[in-house]
């Protein structure tokens, strides 16, 4: 899901060696080198908006300006940090990489680093997120001497299958999401104004150490969602909200709908979500999963936020590929974690969306979080 991107990432992002020890990253890199046996090094770019791969390989979250990792197959990585030499000390706690330097003339720096490597390809990750000018300079600086291979899709396929330590952190993120959702319920029951409900939910997540919190909410009975703009005096019941929390690098998100008991749309949407969660198993295609959900839907219209795309993989990125697209042949994978959503519009135009986060097991799925909208 897309939310408003904040201008600066401010939450806790220090490397926690107990939670993600160095050997975890070594193992991830070993897999990358196995996938690219001819590569002698990797260039990994990340910025505050798009840095899942950089975080996966270095633990580094670029809070302010972009960062670039040069990772040789043999030897120590180097991390170049935007913002000048005085930014380096503040960046050190965010990564296990010891060789940090300011990011200047990125393409030239990459070419100089590449010349230190033995013969072999260079793999590029995050190159599509580079500013256009920077990427063109990279292609020019690196392309003459070396074969540059884009590795985003291959690495992403690895990142989709969560490792045990990642699953542990994702569970913690889901617990924080649940605390935020509970605070939302409590606020509505206390008759709080709509934006106060959002603020209280976000604060509940921050008090649990969330690195980031994002939200969207509805002012029109769940038909559309919008980001926070200014505090509003209005109250909404039912209240439709989207919450996303990031903890220790990993995202958990959910559509939360708080409605009075007996709400017909709530019951319908809860039933569909339960059906989807129960059906989710490795090998099931998106097409078949939507067929199963559609059987529950009856004549009600799909919600625009859950019509074509009804979920995605989730992890170090909030909108991690693959998207789960209605008529696609993409199949659910064992070991992956998905955010699944069901959404409907009723005849009067009111909307409801409810979601769950599921970890795929060998034969089915384990529910890590679910909106408490029950049928």
């Amino acid at each position: 899901m897309q939310t408003i991107h904040p201008t600066l990432l401010v939450g806790p992002a220090d490397w926690d060696a107990r939670q993600m020890p160095r050997e975890e990253f070594d193992e991830r890199l070993a897999v990358l080198w196995r996938d690219y046996p001819d590569a002698s090094g990797a260039v990994v770019y990340g910025n505050s908006n798009c840095h899942a791969a950089l975080a996966y390989l270095t633990n580094f979250t670029p809070k302010l300006e972009a960062a670039l990792a040069f990772i040789p197959r043999h030897g120590e990585a180097q991390l170049l940090i935007g913002g000048g030499v005085n930014m380096v000390p503040a960046a050190k706690p965010l990564t296990f990489v010891e060789n940090l330097a300011p990011l200047r003339e990125a393409a030239k720096a990459a070419a100089a680093w590449a010349r230190t490597l033995p013969a072999g390809d260079i793999i590029m990750i995050g190159g599509d997120a580079m500013p256009t000018g920077m990427r063109r300079a990279f292609d020019q600086a690196l392309g003459a001497d070396r074969k540059i291979e884009t590795a985003d899709a291959t690495l992403q396929a690895r990142m989709t299958i969560k490792r045990p330590r990642e699953l542990h952190v994702l569970r913690a993120a889901c617990t924080t999401l649940d605390a935020a959702a509970q605070a939302l319920h409590n606020a509505l029951h206390d008759n709080k104004r709509v934006t106060d409900c959002i603020l209280l939910a976000e604060h509940a997540a921050l008090r649990r150490g969330a690195q980031d919190v994002r939200s969207l909410f509805s002012l029109d009975g769940g038909r559309t969602l919008r980001p926070f703009d200014i505090p509003l005096a209005e109250r909404r019941d039912p209240l439709q909200v989207y919450l996303a929390v990031r903890q220790s690098g990993y995202w958990a998100d959910g559509f939360v709908r708080v409605a009075p008991a007996g709400d017909t749309l709530q019951e319908k949407i809860g039933g569909i979500l339960d059906t989807m969660v129960a059906a989710a198993k490795p090998g099931l295609s998106c097409r078949d999963l939507t067929k199963i959900a559609d059987a529950e839907r009856g004549s009600l219209q799909l919600h625009p936020l859950a019509d074509n795309v009804f979920g995605n993989s989730i992890g170090l990125a909030l909108d991690e590929p693959p998207n789960l697209v209605r008529d696609s042949n993409v199949r659910l994978e064992a070991g992956a974690v998905y955010s699944l959503r069901a959404g409907l519009l009723d005849e009067a135009g009111a909307g409801a969306i409810s979601s769950a986060i599921v970890a795929m097991t060998a034969s089915g799925s384990d529910v890590l979080w679910r909106d408490s909208a029950k049928p």
Partner: protein
């Protein structure tokens, strides 16, 4: 100046060229230093990649991703033809139709390659025309100035909250997160809270997990955005009693800031403001610290739309005009004290600068 008047000026500049249309593009990754030409043309702050197409007749199309955000765009920009799209390039293609004519692009240099590559393939002959959009936006419109005043009010309340919250044992991250949330509760949809603490800061840097201690000097930039318009205050706080030397040096930086205010007059160059600040510090023997890596600039414009009139820097020759909004912040590293933050948002008027804060920067202490 109203939004409509500025749009008319942009259209006038377009009509003075041989171009048929301007395509403005932004990736939705809002950043304090990244201008957003779509916001200038439409006022819309997007969730995802977005584009605006302005033609010579003045018609504006707004391409919005994700498509489900189109209704908010229509609310925000009732005069625009809103085109919902799954992919911004497809939306631009739809907006341009089968005869795009001669097209210029604003914002191309800073969009990610995945967008820039497709856009240049779609419009191979298009030239960058950022100046058409951003030059008229070097001055703020009435609503942006009003929003900057409100953002400044929120920033000052945020500073009061900082004085209540900060103390030994709290991490920089915890403080930054709380301040960001607090400003949201006051109406700021975003806040660039750049904050760190140490006995001797080399710079102001993003917060991390370091826990603050007695004797630390907290340096912070609080930069709330109200309805998409940023304003900033730069402040320095001591956890404990400030030593006399620190007070003395902070007075020096404050004096330099006031010299900057005095030099900022209509018709002066922005470089003159920087030079006036440097002169105060150079006179006290800090000339070598008036350049990188210690200091890059003495202030900057405030987005999220245009970041004009640009940096308060020696190489910025832009001439100051009424309704320009920018920061004046000496923000100086001094070897005796470390980095000190001191800065205010100002609006140029016909008479000189109007400082937007009610209480200008002074060295603050938190009893511990």
């Amino acid at each position: 100046m109203t939004f409509e008047q500025r749009l008319a000026e942009i259209r006038g500049r377009l009509c003075a060229t041989s171009l048929d249309r301007v395509v403005a593009v932004h990736d939705g990754a809002h950043f304090i230093e990244k201008p957003d030409p779509v916001k200038v043309l439409t006022g819309f702050k997007a969730l995802g990649p977005v584009a605006a197409v302005l033609d010579r007749g003045g018609a504006v199309s707004l391409v919005v991703t994700p498509r489900w955000d189109a209704e908010r765009a229509r609310e925000c920009c009732p005069g625009a033809n809103v085109i919902p799209a799954d992919d911004v390039i497809d939306g631009i293609e739809a907006a341009l139709g089968s005869s795009p004519g001669d097209v210029g692009i604003a914002g191309l240099a800073v969009v990610p390659y995945r967008i820039g590559k497709c856009l240049t393939e779609l419009l191979p002959r298009a030239q960058p025309v950022d100046a058409i959009v951003f030059e008229p936006a070097r001055r703020k419109i009435d609503t942006e100035l009003a929003y900057a005043r409100e953002a400044t009010r929120i920033a000052e309340l945020g500073f009061q909250r900082l004085l209540e919250l900060a103390g030994p044992g709290m991490s920089e991250d915890e403080l930054a997160s709380e301040l960001r949330w607090h400003s949201k509760s006051l109406g700021a949809e975003d806040n660039f809270v750049l904050l760190c603490a140490a006995p001797h800061n080399k710079a102001v840097a993003p917060s991390n997990g370091r826990r603050m201690q007695k004797g630390d000097i907290i340096v912070c930039e609080l930069t709330p955005s109200y309805r998409g318009q940023l304003a900033q205050i730069c402040r320095t706080i001591v956890l404990g009693e400030a030593p006399a030397l620190l007070r003395e040096k902070y007075d020096l930086v404050s004096t330099a800031m006031r010299a900057g205010f005095a030099a900022a007059n209509p018709g002066a160059a922005m470089a003159d403001v920087c030079a006036a600040i440097n002169t105060v510090l150079e006179a006290e023997g800090y000339g070598e610290f008036c350049h990188p890596p210690h200091i890059r600039r003495r202030g900057h414009g405030l987005g999220f739309g245009s970041i004009g009139p640009g940096d308060v820097a020696l190489d910025n020759r832009i001439v100051l005009e009424p309704d320009m909004l920018f920061m004046i912040h000496p923000n100086q590293y001094l070897p005796e004290t470390g980095y000190l933050l001191c800065g205010e948002p100002v609006i140029m008027t016909a008479q000189g600068v109007e400082v937007l804060t009610h209480q200008q920067a002074a060295l603050a202490e938190i009893a511990v």
